[in-house]
Symmetry: C2
Subunit: 192 residues, 2 copies
């Protein structure tokens, strides 16, 4: 927050956010208690409230963490040469995490879905984070010379969110693999 915080404080706060991201993902936000997060972060329960006054603030911090993580991933992908390669790189990352998806779904999509039902948390933060991903995809399609880049970007992210849900519902990681291969072929077929 402000400058020059003692290292210990920064460490605890960070551990709490990391724990929140993890436990929200695995157990769901509604079923997660502050005590669950405190335990994983190895911080006494009451002390959590020194860093986050409410559970909602912890959720917001978790969303922020997702946004940062996503930003870094896309920076990595931007180093790849052609837009097709970057898109295929994104898909490859999804397929790599297919076992996780089968267990818990998409780390951010499940959060977005749950947060829609929680009116007090700012949807704006969730939507903005999802938009980072959609915008990036649309930019790649545009660089490929596609006039319909806008709808293709949406379609790609939707395909991922949807196959994450099905992979999770059927607990079958191979669904993600098959769909990833199909999407990669589709992208190659779109080259202008």
């Amino acid at each position: 927050m402000t400058d020059l915080q003692p290292a210990v404080k920064a460490g605890k706060r960070e551990r709490l956010v990391d724990a929140a991201v993890q436990v929200f993902y695995e157990r769901g936000v509604e079923k997660t208690t502050i005590a669950d997060i405190a335990k994983v972060a190895d911080v006494p329960v009451g002390n959590v409230y020194y860093y986050f006054k409410t559970k909602d603030q912890l959720i917001e911090a978790a969303v922020e963490a997702h946004r940062r993580r996503l930003g870094h991933l896309l920076e990595e992908l931007d180093r790849l040469g052609a837009p097709q390669e970057r898109l295929r790189g994104l898909i490859a990352g999804w397929v790599d995490l297919r076992d996780q998806a089968a267990q818990f779904g998409c780390p951010f999509g499940t959060l977005a879905s749950e947060m829609d039902k929680r009116p007090d948390v700012l949807d704006a933060e969730i939507a903005a984070t999802m938009r980072v991903l959609v915008d990036w995809s649309q930019r790649q399609f545009a660089e490929m010379g596609r006039e319909d880049a806008a709808e293709l970007g949406v379609a790609l992210i939707a395909a991922y969110q949807g196959i994450s849900l099905l992979t999770n519902t059927f607990r079958d990681p191979s669904l993600m693999k098959v769909e990833g291969d199909r999407l990669a072929r589709w992208i190659d077929s779109l080259a202008a």
Copy 2:
């Protein structure tokens, strides 16, 4: 359950299930209280427990209701002539409900997503219901002569689940419309 129940009893039970389906959808399962459902169904709170001993039983009844509703929808679509027409009919239904999707997401997808986080409820029921939809889609693609019907059926339902999530996250019904049109064109392009 057993035969020859008085009409009044059947009426109340049915009202409770209808209310559960509606409120679970709009407010989310975790945030919904028995009192919420009782109120919408116009049944006194304590009386709910005469029909359903636990909240989980109410959830199971709601899933069952989704399965029945889905079964009827697919029967309707089966009356249409060609498999392409049936698939386009399915998509048209999704697009018609785009405003609802923007508000609350896919009625069944959001439930499936939430139930993954609730270990006590039988996933089997959820997966079986989703499978009805996937199987039906795969059958249509197979009738169109596609060898890859299995992956196309999964891809179609995933596309719908994903665009429902994005439509909801961005609160923008037009996303569903644009993706629906794209999917319809895609299906036509697949005709053997």
